[in-house]
Structure formats: structure tokens, C-alpha cells
């Protein structure tokens, strides 16, 4: 009883605060790139989301200055890394004497729409990520060493591949063979971890559009990944971001490329079903 009373008092205090001091989203709410590609930054939430009506891109929570960097490919620092990937695309590597371009003769454009549906279930019924597809080509078709899961070359290549889906609507499959992976990802999303004892949902579902010290919390969507961050001046993969968020709550992160992070990636991607791919995006 006493507990309920306390809770109500706090809730009222919280409400009063929301009314006066609630953080506002960045000034721009329409994302138009290069003056001609307009990307909707919100959409009706997919049916499986129980606690949110609208899903929103992380772009709308950033400052006007950060937003502007994503509105012109000449200003977007990601394109330095996309260019790195274009060079790698043609670079012969491994025992078979092949480059990506040896097999994918139509260029990276061949992958239009791919990122919008990743991760997905492969022919063996297992969940696979874009990163794994790239490494599969490297090891099995090129006879080359796999790239590190989230390091420079892989982050650049998945940015180049993601760019081919820019403007496509996110639509990852969560039924059939994907269902158990999705359930696992969902469980991870709602499980509190770390010394600070928080879940992804505590910040990105319960408190998005609220300031957490200097950070304006978004819904933690991944439709812009890999994303260039001003903070570390490089492309950041989804798994690297998950790791960062876990470390912030003093939780031991799962490995990059681990079953846990792959399942979480599927689940988080599915929370953005209906949003539009923005890769490569810019964040702070």
C-alpha cells in the first residue's frame, strides 16, 4: 500500500516535468537527401509491437547540425568509407584470385533491397547476417581470410551494401524458421542486465524522446546502420552499438557475431519493420 502511494506521487511529479521540460526532437522532421531522395522518418509500428504506436528513426532525435550531415552525400563522412569499400570490391584477394566484382559482375547495385530484409534465415534454416554473407564469399569463394566481424573493412563493405537499400522499406521476416531466433532476441531486449540492471526497453521503449544526461534517447532503431558516429569518426556496426549500450549499463556484452547479438539484431530490425533504410546514417 505504502509502495503504491509512493509510486503515484512519483508518477505525478514525473508528469509535471514532462509537461514543462520535455526534450524536443530535432528541428528537421523530414529527411531529404541530396535534394531528391525523401526518406520517411516514422511509420506505424509493426503489429508485433505492443507498447509503441509509431516507430521513428534515430535521425529525428539528433541536433540540426548532425541531421544536416546526413542530408547531402558530400557532407556525409560515411562516404569516405563507402569509397574504401568500392576499392575493396575490385581488389583480388585469397587463393582463388578473385575479387567481389569477379562474381558480382553487375556491381554492388546487385544488392538493392538486401539489407532491408536482413538478417534472414538461410537454406540450412539458420539465421544469417549480411556480415556473414560477406565472409562466406571471402572464405568459400575467394579462399581469403574472413574479415573481423565489426572492424574497418567489414563495416565499410556492409555500409556499401546497405547503401544499395537506402530508401527501401525495412521488412525482416519473423515467422517460420525465424520465429525461435526472434523470440530469443525479444527476450534479450526485455531482460535487465549489468550492475545498473537495465534492459534495452528501459531506455529505448519506455524513455525515448527523453534526455538521459546529454543524450537524447531514440528508439534504438537500426535502419541507419552501419552508422558514422562523430564520437569515434568511423562506421559503427549494429553489434558494436549493442556492445556499447551494454557496457554503459556495466553489463558484459555478448560477442560480436554471437548467436545472442544475431538474435537481438533480428528482433531490433523487426521493431523497425515499416521504417526506411537510411544507411549510411550519421549520429553523434
Amino acid at each position: 500500500m505504502g509502495m503504491n502511494l509512493f509510486k503515484t506521487t512519483a508518477a505525478i511529479a514525473g508528469l509535471a516535468l514532462m509537461g514543462t521540460g520535455m526534450a524536443t526532437a530535432g528541428e528537421e522532421s523530414a529527411l531529404t537527401i541530396n535534394g531528391d531522395l525523401t526518406i520517411p522518418t516514422s511509420a506505424s509500428a509493426p503489429a508485433h509491437l505492443e507498447n509503441i504506436d509509431m516507430v521513428t528513426s534515430g535521425w529525428i532525435y539528433r541536433t540540426k547540425e548532425t541531421q544536416a550531415l546526413q542530408m547531402d552525400d558530400f557532407d556525409n563522412p560515411s562516404f569516405v568509407f563507402v569509397d574504401v569499400a568500392l576499392d575493396l570490391w575490385d581488389k583480388v584477394d585469397g587463393s582463388e584470385g578473385k575479387a567481389c566484382s569477379s562474381c558480382h559482375e553487375n556491381g554492388p547495385e546487385e544488392f538493392a533491397g538486401l539489407t532491408a530484409s536482413m538478417p534472414r534465415i538461410n537454406a540450412e534454416g539458420q539465421l544469417e547476417t549480411t556480415t556473414e554473407l560477406v565472409n562466406e564469399c571471402r572464405t568459400e569463394r575467394m579462399g581469403a581470410e574472413p574479415w573481423k566481424y565489426s572492424k574497418g573493412k567489414m563495416a565499410a563493405m556492409t555500409s556499401l551494401i546497405g547503401l544499395q537499400s537506402r530508401g527501401s522499406v525495412v521488412n525482416v521476416a519473423i515467422d517460420g524458421a525465424a520465429a525461435p531466433y526472434w523470440e530469443k532476441g525479444k527476450e534479450l531486449y526485455y531482460t535487465r542486465v549489468g550492475q545498473l540492471d537495465m534492459s534495452c526497453s528501459n531506455c529505448h521503449e519506455d524513455n525515448y524522446d527523453v534526455m538521459i544526461r546529454a543524450d537524447h534517447l531514440s528508439q534504438g532503431q537500426i535502419n541507419g546502420f552501419p552508422t558514422y558516429r562523430l564520437k569515434n569518426a568511423k562506421m559503427n556496426t549494429t553489434h558494436a552499438r549493442f556492445k556499447g549500450c551494454m557496457k554503459n549499463i556495466r553489463a558484459k556484452p555478448f560477442g560480436q557475431g554471437s548467436d545472442e547479438f544475431k538474435a537481438l539484431e533480428l528482433y531490433v530490425a523487426s521493431r523497425g519493420n515499416g521504417l526506411t533504410v537510411e544507411t549510411p546514417s550519421v549520429r553523434n
Binding site: G14, M22, A23, R213, A214
Partner: protein, 150 residues
């Protein structure tokens, strides 16, 4: 459920923590309906020190989630929780000690971390495994500081 378990544990262990000078260990803190009446250390809290702990990102980092107009020199105050302006007018010392030690005893399911527990959380980074975020004296200092927020 959590409340019941913690209360039971505390009452079993309560007798061992009475001697002077020893801090009450996390997990031995005696909660009564969310409140903690007795000092965790027997040493009066230092409000000035508590103000430092409150703002420090590596310690309380209370400003991550709470605004507090008494700390204007820090430019970013979070808004996840209610403002702590006037907190001492809304809560007494025992209630504040309870909230800072383990706010889940007062606010069921809250996002606010428990600052004086050493277990009950999962997958902590190794160096934070089995330790509380704040020491007993830091909790007392923060409580003393909160009591100045009239």
C-alpha cells in the same frame, strides 16, 4: 516478492550488523516498506561530499536521469526521473536512504539503479560483479545532500 525476500534476509542477518563502526553490508540493509531508518555506517553523512557523488558520472551520476537546479555548473541534466528540486520536502531521511540504497523497494519495476546492492543483477562486467555502485558512506553522503534540497 522481492520486498518479501529482502526483508526476510535482512531480518535473519540483522542481528550481526549492530556493532559500532562496521558498515551494514549490501544485502543486510533492513528495509521497512521501502524505508531504511538506521544509518548504514553510524557516521553522519557529509552533504558536500554527497553533492560530488551525486554529479560524478562514475559514481552516482544522478544527473543522468534527474534535474537539480542546485547544480547549475553541470550543463546536462537528464529527464528520465522526476526533478530532485525540493526532494527533502517530499521524503524524509529514512525514505531517501531506502530510495538511494534500492529504489526498487519503493518504486516497483523502476529503471533507477539500486546503488547499494551487490547481487541480484545479471551479466555484470567482471569488475562490478559482487560490488555495489556506491559505498555505504557514499550513500549516507548522498542522503545528507538530498536532505538539503528543500
Amino acid at each position: 516478492m522481492r520486498v518479501l525476500i529482502a526483508t526476510a534476509v535482512a531480518s535473519v542477518l540483522g542481528s550481526t550488523v549492530a556493532f559500532a563502526g562496521a558498515a551494514v553490508a549490501p544485502g543486510e540493509v533492513k528495509f521497512d516498506n521501502g524505508t531504511v531508518a538506521a544509518s548504514l555506517t553510524g557516521v553522519a553523512g557529509d552533504a558536500a561530499e554527497g553533492r560530488v557523488v551525486f554529479a560524478n558520472r562514475k559514481l552516482g551520476n544522478c544527473l543522468a536521469c534527474h534535474t537539480n537546479t542546485q547544480i547549475p555548473e553541470e550543463s546536462f541534466h537528464g529527464q528520465v526521473g522526476p526533478t530532485l528540486d525540493g526532494a527533502a520536502g517530499r521524503w524524509n531521511e529514512a525514505e531517501l536512504r531506502g530510495i538511494v540504497s534500492n529504489s526498487k523497494m519503493t518504486f516497483e519495476g523502476t529503471i533507477m539503479p539500486a546503488f547499494y546492492v551487490q547481487s541480484g543483477y545479471f551479466r555484470p562486467i567482471e569488475k562490478f560483479d559482487g560490488v555495489s555502485i556506491l559505498t555505504a558512506q557514499q550513500v549516507e553522503d548522498v542522503v545528507a545532500y538530498l536532505m538539503t534540497l528543500k
